[in-house]
Each structure stands twice: as structure tokens, then as C-alpha cells.
């Protein structure tokens, strides 16, 4: 039984529509907070590639030009950060991960996303396929700013936003579900906001 905090009142009442879209423990923000563990990397586009790798081999790799020549889509999604802010109705441009994986060919149950700056995060292949994940390069009608993960970040909006890895440079196909950067520090291996899977054991 949680103790009641006398004098604490509910001030930020989300609209009824928003409330149904808000996972437990989250609140709506209008801003776009930035959370990163280190400095923002700035990789020149001429040096940027996106790769699907497996067992130390590159199955398929795209330069920025090749990547941007792939068919892109507009995505509208609610995003949920483990630090408890949610942002509703965000709009992105990106290439479906399905497209990238289909071109590379794949057979593996998990992926590890890898990024400039050394960040990693683990995901089941079932969560990055089937129209649920994108490599996003545009946000809100413009390019994706570096502090928000540009030139491109993973977008997996049905999981907590640390899974939507900033500055993503590829996906490594894995046989086992190994912890990525935050997962090693005690955050949940899967991270479903609707089941409030913030930390290991949640």
C-alpha cells in the first residue's frame, strides 16, 4: 500500500485521448528532451555507412547516398522515454528496417544495434521487422538534428526510447539476446513501456 502524500495533487491532466495513449508512470512533454551518455558524435556523411553484419562479416552495407536512395516512408508515432516523458504524435522520415534486412538477407533471432560513440542496444528480430522499426533520418519535416541522433537513428517506438539507438550505424545479427549498453547497467532487456519494463526484473 503506497503512502498518500497529503498536499500532492494531480496538476498535469493529460486530455482523455492522451491518457489512453500514455503508458503507466509516463507524463506528456511538449519539448524533446535529450539524453545521451556522452558527447554527440559528428560523423561526416561521406564517411557514414549503415551495415547489416553477422559473425564479424558484413552482409550488406550502404553509403549515405545509397541509403537515402532507398524508398522512405513517413512515420507518426508516440515515443516513451524510460525517464518518464512521452511525446505524442511525433513525425519521422525513415527507411523500414524490413527493407534493409530483406536486401541483406537474414536468419537470426536477435539483433544488436551499434552506433557512433560505442552505444549498443539489443532487440529481438521480431521487434524490428513487420513494419515496427525504421532507420530514421528526418524529424518533424526537417533533417534529424545531431543531438537527437542524426544523421540517422533507429526508431522502434513500441519500446522504451533507449532502444531507438541514436547515431546508429548498423545491426549485428545475433543468435543470443545479449545486453547492450544500458541493459548491462540494469535496464530491462526488452523494455515494453505498457508493461513498465524499466529495469531488470520489472
Amino acid at each position: 500500500m503506497s503512502p498518500v502524500s497529503r498536499g500532492f495533487r494531480h496538476l498535469h491532466r493529460a486530455s482523455d485521448e492522451d491518457a489512453g495513449r500514455l503508458p503507466p508512470g509516463q507524463y506528456v512533454t511538449e519539448g524533446f528532451p535529450v539524453l545521451s551518455a556522452g558527447p554527440t558524435p559528428h560523423t561526416p556523411l561521406e564517411e557514414w555507412t549503415f551495415a547489416i553484419t553477422q559473425g564479424g562479416q558484413t552482409r550488406k552495407s550502404w553509403t549515405w547516398q545509397e541509403f537515402r536512395a532507398l524508398p522512405a516512408v513517413t512515420i507518426t508515432a508516440d515515443i516513451h522515454c524510460v525517464t518518464r516523458w512521452s511525446k505524442l504524435g511525433t513525425q519521422w522520415r525513415g527507411v523500414p528496417v524490413d527493407t534493409l534486412l530483406d536486401l541483406a538477407g537474414y536468419e537470426a533471432p536477435y539483433v544488436m544495434a551499434f552506433c557512433d560513440g560505442g552505444y549498443t542496444t539489443n532487440l529481438p528480430i521480431a521487434d524490428v521487422t513487420g513494419g515496427q522499426a525504421w532507420v530514421a533520418f528526418g524529424y518533424d519535416g526537417g533533417p534529424l538534428q545531431a543531438e537527437h541522433g542524426g544523421p540517422a537513428r533507429l526508431l522502434v517506438p513500441h519500446l522504451y526510447f533507449w532502444k531507438s539507438a541514436k547515431w546508429v550505424r548498423g545491426l549485428d545479427l545475433r543468435e543470443a539476446d545479449e545486453p547492450g549498453f544500458w541493459e548491462k547497467y540494469g535496464y530491462h532487456m526488452y523494455g515494453d513501456p505498457w508493461r513498465e519494463q524499466r529495469y531488470a526484473g520489472d
Binding site: 503512502p3 502524500s5 497529503r6 494531480h10 508512470g25 506528456v28 512533454t29 539524453l35 544500458w182
Partner: protein, 247 residues
């Protein structure tokens, strides 16, 4: 290999508020006495959950202000449009109960074995986890040299002012006041930038370890400036507050 923080499940517990101490006009430190505390590391944070009389709950995370081995404490700044911080800074009293779970986070932490020299850059209430690191350094008798540069709007907004002025023995504390300065101010003025950091920060050749905590714009500027001064990105650890309007 990064030290892992994989523990058992983090469960909510009702902690007794042991003391509430005013730090500045808008900031308090809340000392807590949780029934089960597994111990924390300098730089970690914890989750707080408030429950209103109508059953509504709100959760937030706060950096731990105390050093490992000291009673658990958080320092909270009142945000005018906030929901949780006005309660914590205005309504909460010693003897009340507060639900928490933690500690959380394992990257923005420092142990004496991590070495240095340490460069700590604080923007506003970003001083909180860095204060824990400085206290931990002092309590463990570490001789790792440390420099703290603390950016604040005004002198009155500086948190832990008396405590920070007492640091000696290898700790250098400097301030930059961005909005207003008291008469006779001899410290730095204006927002943090690469010119100020070139003057204050350890040279990159000394292989420093940097911790930056503050609002996003502060952290972005400071981290980019350190990389520009030759700090390897993996020696620059950051923690940012969003300006989410939700705290």
C-alpha cells in the same frame, strides 16, 4: 568491461523522511531512511513515486546527493510548472513517508579506482551527482586531483555553497555566474564555452576523466568543447536534464 549493475528486482519501498534542509530559495535536500538500501555508487539516481489522495501517482528520478555509505539524500529544485518538485520542495516534512526505489544507473558513476584527474562540470542543479562524487573522493581519502567548474545563474542559486568552499587538498572549485554577479565578483562570468574550458579544464595530455551534468544546452556545449580540446569522447560522461517541463 564496464562494471555491471545487474541486481535483483528494484522494488518500491516507503522511506521515512529524516530531514529536509533548505539549500537555496528553490532547492532542498531531502535525507531519507529507506528500510532496505543495498548501497549506492557516487553518481547514481533513484526513482520517487508520489500518490495523491485520489490514487493518482507520479514518478520522477532524482540524482543521489550523498556519498556511498552516507544516509541516502536527494537534492530537488522547484520547477515552477512542475508537478512533483513543488510538493517535494514545499510540502514535504521530516517524518513523512516517501516511496522510492533504487539505486539506478551505472555509467555516470565514479570510484577512486577510475582515477582522473577529475573534471566536473555542473550546470545549475547538475551539481547534485557531482557533489556525491566529490564527497566520495573525500571520504575514501582519494588523492585524485579534481577540478569543479559550476555554472549558475546567480550566486544565490549556488547549491552546497558552504560545503564546496571547504574543499581543499587537491580540489579546485571555480564558478561562472551567467546572469548576475555580486559586487566585487572575481570569478568567471557568462555561459560555459571553449575559451573558458581551455582556461579551467585539465589539459587533454593529462588523460582527465570528465563528468558533465546540467541542462541539455549546457551539456552539449561543454561536451563538444572538451572533445574539441582533445578529450577522447569515451572519457567524457554526461547526464542531461531535459527541460521537459514535467518535473
Amino acid at each position: 568491461m564496464a562494471r555491471t549493475a545487474l541486481r535483483g528486482r528494484l522494488t518500491w519501498q516507503a522511506a521515512t523522511v529524516a530531514a529536509v534542509t533548505r539549500e537555496t530559495a528553490s532547492v532542498v535536500t531531502i535525507e531519507l531512511d529507506p528500510p532496505h538500501w543495498p548501497g549506492h555508487r557516487a553518481g547514481q539516481h533513484l526513482d520517487v513515486r508520489l500518490t495523491a489522495e485520489d490514487g493518482y501517482t507520479a514518478e520522477r528520478e532524482y540524482s543521489i546527493a550523498s556519498a556511498p555509505g552516507e544516509p541516502v539524500a536527494i537534492t530537488v529544485e522547484r520547477l515552477e510548472d512542475g508537478e512533483v518538485s513543488p510538493y517535494l520542495t514545499g510540502e514535504l516534512h521530516a517524518g513523512d513517508e516517501l516511496e522510492l526505489r533504487g539505486p539506478v544507473g551505472g555509467y555516470f558513476v565514479w570510484e577512486p579506482g577510475d582515477g582522473g584527474p577529475l573534471l566536473l562540470l555542473a550546470g545549475g542543479s547538475g551539481i547534485v551527482p557531482l557533489r556525491s562524487i566529490l564527497r566520495h573522493r573525500l571520504r575514501t581519502g582519494s588523492d585524485v586531483p579534481a577540478r569543479l567548474l559550476y555554472s549558475s545563474r546567480n550566486w544565490e542559486d549556488v547549491i552546497y555553497r558552504d560545503e564546496l568552499s571547504q574543499h581543499r587538498d587537491g580540489v579546485q572549485v571555480s564558478y561562472t555566474l551567467t546572469r548576475g554577479q555580486p559586487a566585487g565578483w572575481t570569478g568567471h562570468t557568462g555561459r560555459i564555452d571553449s575559451v573558458l574550458l581551455a582556461e579551467v579544464a585539465w589539459p587533454a595530455e593529462s588523460n582527465p576523466l570528465a563528468y558533465i551534468c546540467g541542462p541539455t544546452s549546457f551539456v552539449e556545449t561543454a561536451a563538444a568543447a572538451l572533445v574539441g580540446l582533445g578529450y577522447p569522447p569515451e572519457r567524457v560522461r554526461t547526464e542531461r536534464f531535459g527541460g521537459t517541463g514535467g518535473h
